[in-house]
Amino acid sequence: MNTIDEKAKRYNGGWKLFLKEWVILILLLALVLICSLFLERFRTTNNIMNILRQASFTAIIAMGEFFVILTGQMDMSVSSIIGMVSIFFAGFVVKMGLPVWLALVLVLGLTVLVGIINGVLVVYGKMPSFIATLVVMNVVRGIIYLYSKGLPISGLPEGFNFMGSGYVGIVPFPVILMFIVAIILYILTAHTSVGRSFFAVGGNLEASKLSGINVKCIGILAFVFCAALTGVGALGLTAKTLAGNVTLGDELLFDVMTIVVLGGTSLTGGRGRIFGVVIGALFLQVIGNAMVLLGINTYWQWVVKGAILIVVVLIDSNTKRDIVKTKQKTQAIATEEK
């Protein structure tokens, strides 16, 4: 009875486990269905595309944060990296007159540098990531305020606007960008050894080290991914307004964290899915959109998002127990079969 097919193709836990792991997708579909039924203005193509576009850059940033959380760490510096990219990009192009492509390379290089600093502080300095990135966040914020004196820099070339608000057919360019990034990252996480190492390191650092994974390199790489993807997202946000602004990312950190957790990423590391993050971003955007359409005060969004985060974390810590139970049951059945 021991054939490879039998033992390889059995999916332990069955459809129940599948449902639990993709519960956010079902919730999103349900939410979209309810909104389309009851809100006339929601179901217009225009509105749907708007939601997708607004979700896209936060989603890209959240995919970066996903890697850090996957390794069991946390990156608080996201908000000031956004501001840094925005103001320096605008500064390079408008003030210094550099070509756009060179400015792009330079700011992305800067984000990589910040990522490496974060990673080195955490991995080699053995600082708790919360503290290390909090420090980096404030230092970066200080630097960009010194550079810009807190004032926005406007006057970016019109053509750059395409990155933030352009369309390919009826689909906004940011949405296409989001899916391209997601697909590349999906292949990375699911089909390369580097990608799998992130899960291994988050799941059990010591065991991964003893299995020959370069845990230090992976630890730093997570922060570099986070900073660089934040950079890409920040460029998109800047392109929308055609102006560099230091405060651009100030309110985004909370959203990013919520999205990552909403997407089913375990806060203790080792578990998560890149498309979960995309779905999480869409879910949060749909809720925000529906609240706007219903004419609810925008400040309520903060309250609602906070409540969502609490509920999701509660469900997450409880489903873990359930999954264990389901697996124990299947195991018991397997033993009986013999």
Binding site: K7, H191, T192, S193, A200, G203, L210, G212, I213, N214
Partner: protein, 511 residues
């Protein structure tokens, strides 16, 4: 016999036992840790609980303190029957049962005084009355006839002094039963004598003491009676004065030695691993040994002898300050586990749950983790189906008992989990296998399968370094046993000298 008690109180035979365990059976998923075990502890008695690792000593003590709930059987504390399902550590503490472990359960940054009274602070008007506590602590220390500085953070104290604080803490809560779980394994001779003295004081006070230890001499030096467990079964109980050490050892080893081990491979190949003068501060010094292909060498030693650190050092996971490692005759610079793996070294660590396996991964991912670089499509993409096939083949070969390759490793039995850790390195085809306590916490049947596997590896021309606390295992599996004592190699035994007695003597540093 203590005449004072006999004269003043009832005769010993009339005393009722402090603890009585009857027909205790304890089952964990897949393992029967205790099988119909009986145990009786009288007041004023020091009862030695002995047996090999995995014999069920700590499981029995955990049943007594309520950390585990016995599957079947009865527990009486001072003739009162305990309701097992609702029994808890809290309740056992209320009944006056205290445990002192070898691992320190002290708050290292708090003073001895604070540690002793933690949870029992006397308060006056909502404030802690330090004066009264200090006085009480002094009385306690006088009673135990010790002199320990209680006013500095305990992290500055010596190991033995920390143990005394733990003892004082246990005595303070008016306990009737004290379980000392391998308390002395990290202590030196002088400090052990001090512990004996304190045990004497406590016994005179009418307390019952359960004494768990690997050092058999201690059983004869301070215990009145003994109970031997072997593979979860109760072998014998009686008075220590009625037996000698040889009889006790025989009881502990118990089962017939003949069936337990496959024949040791005697066909050796080229030199695989050679270690010269390896030194790491605070762990081991000047260690030298050689292993040839097809050979198994054993590392014996007590807790703290530096065995685990040594194998980790060879694997590049523990910093060394001196010495050289030669792999296949060539000098090797091993700075991290990755380099060691590339040289064909594999480590099966002692803690499989925290060091060996990733508990969030499934069987396939755990098995292929060190060999990911061997399954690539176009050099970058992982070939999942080839990985699954390889993992399947190797796990079938190891007769792993599993349901699906995508099954989480968390709920497999200890023996099966250990097989996966071994499978990791067999899949990688590592030729130098470092095994650190591979049979820890797994049952006899699974142990034998691991033994067969080790044997199989040597037949394939691989070499094995085996660390084990079980002498029987070392004797039964190794061509040669290196005995470590406090970080250096004391003795090398092979051939006819490879007996329990020789090893035990060197282990304890007696020569």
């Amino acid at each position: 016999m203590i005449i004072g008690i006999q004269a003043g109180g009832k005769a010993p035979s009339e005393k009722s036992p402090l603890i009585q365990v009857k027909h205790c059976t304890m089952e964990f998923p897949g393992v029967r840790a205790l099988d119909d075990v009986g145990f009786t502890l009288m007041p004023g008695e020091c009862h030695g609980l002995v047996g090999e690792n995995g014999a069920g000593k700590s499981t029995l003590s955990k049943c007594i303190i309520g950390e585990n709930h016995m599957t079947k059987g009865e527990l009486y504390v001072e003739d009162k029957k305990i309701r097992i399902p609702t029994y808890s550590i809290k309740e056992s503490q209320k009944l006056g049962i205290q445990v002192v472990h070898q691992e320190f359960q002290l708050m290292t940054d708090m003073t001895g005084l604070e540690n002793i009274f933690i949870g029992h602070y006397q308060t006056g008007a909502g404030l802690i009355n330090w004066k009264a506590l200090g006085k009480k602590a002094k009385e306690l220390m006088d009673f135990l006839q010790c002199d320990v500085n209680l006013n500095v953070p305990v992290k500055y104290l010596r190991t033995a002094e920390k143990q005394l604080i733990q003892l004082a803490k246990a005595v303070l809560s008016e306990s009737k039963v004290l379980i000392l779980d391998e308390l002395t394994s990290v202590l030196q001779e002088k400090d052990i004598l001090n512990i004996y003295r304190i045990i004497g004081i406590l016994k005179a006070r009418g307390m019952g003491i359960i004494y768990i230890s690997h050092r058999l001499n201690e059983i004869f030096e301070c215990c009145d009676s003994y109970t031997v467990l072997c593979d979860g079964r109760h072998v014998n109980s009686g008075s220590v004065s009625d037996i000698n050490k040889a009889q006790l050892i025989k009881m502990i080893i118990g089962r017939e030695m003949t069936q337990a081990f496959p024949p040791i491979n005697q066909r050796f190949g080229a030199m695989m691993l050679e270690v010269k003068g390896l030194t790491a501060p605070k762990a081991f010094r000047d260690i030298s040994f050689q292993v040839r292909a097809g050979e198994v060498i054993g590392l014996a030693g007590l807790l703290g002898a530096g065995k685990t650190e040594l194998v980790h050092a060879i694997f590049g996971n523990h910093k060394i300050v001196g010495g050289e490692i030669f792999v296949r005759g060539k000098k090797a610079e091993i700075k991290n586990p990755r380099q060691a793996i590339r040289l064909g070294i594999g480590l099966i660590p002692d803690e499989r749950r925290t060091l060996g396996l990733n508990m969030q991964f499934d069987i396939k991912d755990n098995t292929t983790l060190p060999s990911m670089d061997k399954f690539r499509k176009f050099k970058i993409f992982q070939d999942h189906s080839a990985e699954a096939r390889a993992a399947f083949d190797i796990n079938e070969k190891l007769e792993l008992n599993y349901y699906s390759l995508w099954q989480n490793v968390k709920n497999l039995s200890g023996g099966n989990q250990q097989k996966i850790v071994i499978a990791k390195w067999m899949l990688r085809n590592s030729e130098i296998i470092l095994l650190d306590e591979p049979t820890r916490g797994i049952d006899v049947g699974a142990k034998f399968e691991i033994y067969k596997l080790i044997n199989e590896l040597t037949k394939q021309g691989k070499c094995v370094v085996l660390v084990s606390p079980e002498l029987e295992e070392l004797i039964g599996l190794c061509n040669r046993v290196y005995i470590m004592f406090e970080g250096s190699i004391m003795d090398i035994v092979e051939g006819k000298r490879k007996t329990q007695e020789v090893i035990i003597n060197s282990l304890l540093g007696v020569n």
